[in-house]
């Protein structure tokens, strides 16, 4: 018996993969091109996928259904529901923006055009698959689809010394985490005899004899996903990898890859193990508290700009896990997605400016001194993004997103977590504001990209400039009128 293929349901990742192959082929057959062409292909693929996503808006589709044993509800490997669609939109938009950020590197020959975009698109397709996967086999394969191309992306540079180290660290840690996840899946399978969401959930609810086994299996399954989102103690690779990777790739890892991980965690806890909420909810609560604290503390005195953002992304994972710790109900998932969307937008904004400035050789925060005065667009965009990340007005979108997370915690009865969050919001402010103050401060004479230095000044590539402007406009607009962002919650 062969499964019917619902092409419409898988159209979005298919678009991406098709675009990926096209980009690769174009690279092979059209010689001497700049980054523009594969980027255009990528954007086309992303646009097509977005169009499909939009078309799927009101329908919930399930495809690749398994033959059911007995009279149980049908288990499907691929479910495209509202939650998945939101993840898709976030991942796709972020992918498009990252594609634009990659253009300068490709144009300068720093990274190979076709392959770079191919890997990017494959990875993003994997992210979409994670969000729609409803059995553990598909989930783990989709996770690998996200991971493997990104290992390569991290190592893709003409001067690969640091990139190679970053890639190797990323690779080994990731593979170990995957192995642990597979072990966990095997335990779940062993305890329940199934890998599909519905069957596992049913079986988990009825069998009490093997609770420890299921519990341990669930925890181990979450390890790989925890690695993807970089929750403590699986965060160690993050700073080294982000610093060693090309900045746009770091942006990709911190947004798309993390989105995939969050989608995966959500699916696992909400779809597979609802009866184990008493296990995973406090566990995720502790993980959230520890993660946000560790991330913020580690970022506190950082001087390296990318490392600051790396640790800040770790800290934000803590916040992102809170709604799941609060119970993972529909409203909580909405809160999670809202925050993730906000985070994706402003974090990409921050990374895009850092990408533009790093291209000139700036690495330390102090190299950014006076950016607001010299190049207001860059400086203000970065400052605004950082304030949004900090969650303080004028970055109202960040503030309101934090409100939603707090609400989730309060409604979920984990007020203690809300208090930890309160301390962490303050802790985070310290380094975000230090960064912002550096941006605003008068810069040292002869600093990187001083106005007189025409070689460096104003050299923001159009594509990067577009990303910067787009994220800035987006976050400012959402700060003034945040309602659209929260439509997810309604």
């Amino acid at each position: 018996m062969t499964q019917a293929v619902d092409w419409w349901a898988i159209a979005a990742p298919v678009c991406l993969v098709a675009a990926a192959v096209l980009a690769l082929l174009l690279d092979a057959f059209v010689p001497k091109q700049s980054g523009a062409l594969p980027c255009a292909v990528t954007l086309a693929g992303v646009a097509a996928a977005l169009a499909v996503t939009a078309a799927l808006r009101d329908s919930e589709r399930a495809a690749f259904c398994l033959p059911s044993r007995l009279e149980e509800p049908v288990d499907c490997s691929w479910v495209v529901d509202r939650v998945a669609l939101v993840w898709w939109v976030v991942a796709l938009v972020a992918c498009g923006l990252v594609a634009l950020l990659l253009v300068p590197a490709v144009s300068e020959g720093e990274m190979p055009g076709g392959e770079t975009y191919f890997l990017l698109l494959c990875s993003t397709a994997g992210a979409l698959a994670v969000a729609a996967a409803h059995d553990l086999v598909t989930l783990v394969v989709a996770m690998e689809t996200v991971s493997l191309p990104s290992f390569a992306l991290v190592g893709l540079r003409r001067r690969p010394r640091r990139g190679a180290e970053a890639a190797l660290k990323f690779f080994v840690t990731s593979v170990v985490a995957t192995a642990i996840t597979l072990l966990g899946i095997s335990m779940v399978y062993g305890a329940t005899g199934s890998v599909a969401a519905g069957a596992v959930a049913t079986s988990v609810a009825t069998s009490s004899a093997v609770r420890p086994l299921i519990g341990v299996g669930m925890v181990l399954t979450l390890v790989g996903l925890g690695f993807k989102v970089a929750a403590v103690p699986f965060q160690a690779w993050v700073p080294d990898t982000y610093v060693g990777a090309p900045v746009p790739v770091a942006a990709y890892l911190s947004v798309v890859s993390k989105t995939a991980g969050l989608a995966g965690v959500t699916i696992v806890v909400v779809r597979f193990f609802p009866p184990y909420a008493d296990v995973w909810s406090p566990m995720l609560g502790v993980a959230a508290a520890v993660t946000m604290t560790v991330g913020n503390l580690a970022a506190l005195l950082q001087r390296h700009a990318v490392r600051v953002l790396a640790w800040s992304s770790v800290a934000h994972v803590g916040f992102l896990l809170v709604p799941l710790a609060a119970g993972g109900g529909a409203a909580d998932v909405g809160a999670l997605q809202t925050y993730a969307a906000m985070y994706a937008l402003v974090n990409l904004g921050a990374f895009s400016v850092v990408a533009a400035v790093s291209a000139r050789g700036a690495t330390l925060v102090s190299d950014y001194a006076g950016l607001v005065r010299r190049e207001p667009l860059l400086g203000l965009a970065l400052a605004f993004a950082l304030l949004c990340l900090a969650g303080l007005p004028p970055g109202i979108v960040g503030l309101v997103a934090k409100v939603v997370i707090f609400r989730s915690a309060v409604d979920g009865g984990v007020t203690w977590l809300a208090v930890v969050m309160a301390a962490n919001v303050a802790l985070g402010l310290v380094y975000y504001l230090r960064f912002v103050a550096t941006l605003v401060a008068p810069g040292p004479e002869g600093a990187i990209s001083s106005p007189g230095d025409d070689h460096l000044h104003g050299l923001v590539p159009a594509s990067v400039g577009f990303v910067i402007s787009a994220t800035l406009i987006g976050s400012v607009a959402l700060s003034v009128w945040p309602a659209p962002l929260f439509a997810v919650l309604a």
């Binding site: 190679a164 690779f171 005195l301």
Partner: protein
């Protein structure tokens, strides 16, 4: 056959694999450790498949997928190892410290 036999074997293999990954310095050996871990998982999967007489063969199918993934990983991993080797003529993983967070913190 008691199901514990294969499970114990797989546990020991997995533990050995983790030890190899954690302790061995040579990057290729580390990759071997990863293989051991994945194979331990495969043994688990196959065992459970037999245990449940799974009509969907989920365990075996996943084991097959794991083998494929392991192969893909090893291919890409070796490419990265070679990249590391070429860029610095050493593939002892504990010598890869260039990206460590070493810059002195400003005095607060």
């Amino acid at each position: 056959m008691p199901i514990l036999y294969p499970l114990v074997v797989s546990s020991l293999l997995f533990a050995t694999g983790t030890y190899v990954v954690m302790a061995r310095r040579h990057a290729v050996l580390v990759l071997m450790g990863v293989e051991l871990m994945l194979n331990a998982v495969n043994l688990n999967l196959v065992t459970f498949d037999a245990y449940w007489h799974d009509s969907l063969d989920s365990g075996q199918v996943l084991a097959l997928f794991t083998i494929a993934i392991a192969a893909a990983e090893i291919g890409l991993g070796l490419a990265i190892v070679l990249l590391v080797f070429r860029s610095r003529s050493s593939i002892n993983v504990d010598e890869l410290r260039e990206l460590a967070d070493r810059d002195e913190a400003p005095t607060a």
